[in-house]
Amino acid sequence: MQVLVGKRAFLTALFVFLFVIPWIANEYHTFVANLILLYVILSLGLNLLIGFAGQLALANAAMYGIGAYGTGLLMKHFGLPFWISAPGGVAIAVISGTLLALPALRLSGIYLALATLAFAQFTFWLMTHWTPVTFGAGGFIPPPIDFSPLPITQETGIYYLSWGAALVLYVFAKHAMESPIGRAFVAIRDGEVAAQALGIDLLKYKSLAFALSGFYAGVAGALYSGMLGFVGPESFDLLQMVLHKAAVVLGGMGSVIGSLIGGVLLTVLVELTKEFKFSIEVAFGGLLIVFVLFQPNGVIVFVRRLLPGWNERLHYVPPGKETEEDFGAVPETDPEAPAEPDDPAEVPATQPRGGGPV
């Protein structure tokens, strides 16, 4: 049983399946599979920031857009090949992401969320108004990407680049979150004062969390511009932000493999809502509500309950099992979580309710 549905077997099967899709599926399904790979990357990056480091920023869609615009515009304005402009676009996203960490040093909770929301709206405004650079609201068509000498089309090339990026970024996230970096993130999430007392450098690790999520979103954005062959501002609006949040919550906050599953599920669900002519706003707004209220740790909890070998050391321990009465009490730990007293994840999330400047 464990061999068949173990985490590694599942991951291998998933990535092999995604690898062969362009040959076995029609163009539509291949396109959806490419979207899946992008949402896996986006969801992983956002989870590092929200789920692990506990920084509720609402600018992920903007970072995604910055990556896409950066890549496309470097190609368009300077005639650079994709191989140079994509890293350039990602670099711009990382820099913007890191800059967002500056307010995060002074702000937390609601304040941070709304300051980043204002930043996202400002970015959107720039995309539509900085016409000489961004071509304005009408968007632009980035030049085609040349994959020669490989005998493949742009679509296929971008697909396998996305596939490789998703795989590498998953493995990287997994290892990073099991390293001292992950522990530092979780410590910050669970209490900044305590984290500082443990000798964790807030400036360094908060910047790192923002830079990492900017990197992931930037990579997804760069691939997006190549995949669509069109970049316009409407792809990076509030709905996009909600989709990213839904992917993270659906999969499981603070779970790397959860993000992988969340990205896959989200993309499939988006196509299903279209298939059933259901309002995408109601579907994903509702999903966010239902999951946060009733299963705040995402579908990964069900998987973990059913299957052995799916535990992650630093996964957010669900406080959801507590009853109404233990307001502020230490919640029970998940019986299946390995007991490691030194593990910061064992400390319940005790954020102050309000947040605010700290």
């Binding site: 506990g54 204002a118 930043f119 405004w125 909600v242 966010l288 209220l293 307001f327």
Partner: protein, 294 residues
């Protein structure tokens, strides 16, 4: 000179709308330390409720108004029950905010189902004559004066409520220290519930008064919320008079930016104000000097 005085006068009258919406945000924040991300949708729903009664069912103005406000009060209580109360106990702000964001999208989608087929921008009759009035040589829309009056009245009512009534002092106490408030026997749950109700009711009242000028459509909420939030944060997020002054200031800033810099600045001024205030003066103009520490 006429140019400048027009901009300032209009800034104050549109600012009154932001102030009225901001008051709801501030009252909820004061009691619960949470910004209701779906507050713009409370405005939108209030407007559509009134539209349903007054325009679709042809009921008289005042009963429609009252019923819309009452219904919005109910929706506010539902928000407390669904989004806030269950999550309070888990003490995670991230969760509360995520649920609010989800809620704002759900309400938009539901409004589109219910009223979206009725037209692109629905119209609602004004309380008084639609003709503009001359006010010291400056023409203003009479409905804007109604909103201005309402903003001041609601501000005074809230200020008195927090200062003079028992319930108001409960709210204040609950906000300052929820655990202590609970220990001394305050029914904090109830305080939160009524706060959400009152906040939504104020948004609905603002919507009914303002609908003749803003028109009604499912997406009206977000922009108003952002501008009202800018007003609230400029005023310090906990100050009742601060919200009103903040509203006027945002209104005036928008007008001046559009009038003297570029008309494109009208849209973006509020976002820039939010970023500047949050980073450089997070306590706002009227905020408490003491901020909550971790």
């Amino acid at each position: 000179m006429e140019y400048l005085s027009y901009l300032v006068a209009t800034g104050i009258s549109t600012g009154a709308l932001y102030a009225l919406v901001a008051l709801g945000i501030v009252v909820i924040y004061k009691a619960t330390q949470v910004v209701n991300f779906a507050h713009g949708e409370m405005f939108m729903l209030g407007g559509f409720f009134a539209y349903t009664f007054h325009v679709m069912l042809d009921w008289p103005y005042l009963p429609s108004f009252a019923l819309a406000v009452a219904l919005a009060f109910g929706v506010g209580i539902a928000v407390d029950r669904v989004a806030f109360r269950p999550l309070m106990q888990r003490q995670t702000l991230v969760s509360v905010l995520l649920v609010m964001i989800g809620l704002s999208f759900v309400l938009k989608g539901v409004a589109r189902w219910l009223w979206g087929g009725k037209g692109d921008y629905l119209t609602f009759p004004p309380l008084i004559s639609p003709e503009p009035l001359s006010f010291a040589g400056i023409m203003v829309m009479s409905q804007q004066l109604v909103v201005l009056g309402a903003a001041c009245a609601v501000m005074v009512a809230f200020a008195l409520f927090f200062k003079l009534t028992r319930a108001g002092r409960f709210m204040q106490a609950t906000a300052d220290n929820p655990k202590a408030a609970k220990l001394v026997g305050l029914r904090t749950d109830r305080v939160y519930m009524y706060t959400f109700g009152v906040g939504s009711a104020v948004a609905a009242a603002a919507a009914v008064l303002m609908a003749p000028l803003t028109l009604l459509y499912p997406d009206i909420g977000f922009m108003l919320f952002i501008k009202a939030f800018a007003a609230a944060v400029l005023g310090g997020l906990t100050s009742i008079p601060g919200a009103v002054v903040g509203g006027f200031l945002i209104g005036i800033i928008e007008q001046l930016a559009a009038g003297y810099l570029h008309t494109a600045m009208q849209e973006v001024a509020a976002f820039i104000v939010i970023m500047i205030v949050m980073i450089f003066i997070p306590t706002g103009l009227f905020g408490l000097g003491r901020m909550r520490k971790v």
